[in-house]
């Protein structure tokens, strides 16, 4: 088990349906996490009790988005981003699309 130190843990309840959870961990350097940073940006559908959008990072995919949740957990799309900041920007863009699409 890789030791992880949490650097960021923030949650925002957007509506009855949606909640966002942002987490960043510092982890030991490994093949899976060569940059020592593990991120998890999630948009949760609280009513359906499923994640709707998840961006995380690990080898061999790098930063990637699971956008076909909850139907296909193995579906990943690699993101053309270079770091966690750009990944966060992409997360917010996609999250807003989902949230506003449902309003």
């Amino acid at each position: 088990m890789t030791k992880a130190t949490i650097l960021l843990d923030q949650k925002l309840d957007i509506s009855e349906r949606y909640r966002v959870e942002l987490k960043v961990f510092e982890v030991q350097k490994s093949e899976r996490f060569p940059e020592r940073i593990k991120v998890s940006f999630i948009l949760i559908d609280v009513i359906a009790k499923v994640p709707r959008l998840l961006i995380d990072n690990h080898a061999p995919f790098g930063f990637h988005v699971h956008e076909d949740l909850p139907n296909n957990k193995e579906s990943r799309r690699q993101l053309p981003v270079s770091d966690y900041s750009e990944a966060l920007e992409e997360f917010w863009r996609l999250a807003k699309e989902i949230i506003h699409g449902d309003l």
Partner: protein, 140 residues
């Protein structure tokens, strides 16, 4: 001796939260300045969405959990004299938004007991210009 703290509900607009998250992630990764939300604080994106969510029935559920420590949603529904299905739905939403958690029931039967997310006895709602507190002892 259990110390009770109120659960605080604060408000931050989506755009403001996004802006802060950009800054906080930079500080967290580059300067190792941690940004960890306290467990007794829940942040909602708007007062309206919180008020739409937090009905009197949900407040009553929280107060009943605080006062009666039900061992199951079934027991909770009995206490509240409400349909179990409706109480279960409200409990799922309260769990999803961080107000309660489900723990293994102390009674041998299968099922989970609804518990407050931590030991709190009131909800303090921090509106932009005024703060008010709902004490469970008064509500139950």
């Amino acid at each position: 001796m259990v110390t009770f703290k109120p659960l605080k509900v604060t408000f931050d607009s989506l755009d403001s939260f996004i802006s802060k998250s950009r800054q906080d992630i930079q500080k967290a990764v580059q300067e190792k300045k941690k940004s960890v939300q306290k467990k007794n604080v829940l942040v909602w994106a708007s007062v309206e969405s919180y008020q739409q969510f937090m009905s009197d029935q949900k407040y009553t559920i929280l107060a009943a959990i605080y006062k009666f420590h039900p061992q199951s949603v079934y027991q909770l529904a009995k206490i509240l004299n409400r349909a179990q299905q409706n109480v279960a739905r409200d409990c799922d939403l309260l769990e999803g938004h961080g107000f309660i958690k489900f723990a293994e029931s102390l009674q041998g039967r299968k099922g989970k007991s609804p518990q407050l997310a931590f030991d709190y006895n009131a909800i303090m709602v921090c509106l932009p210009n005024v703060t008010y507190k709902v004490e469970f002892a008064d509500a139950a």
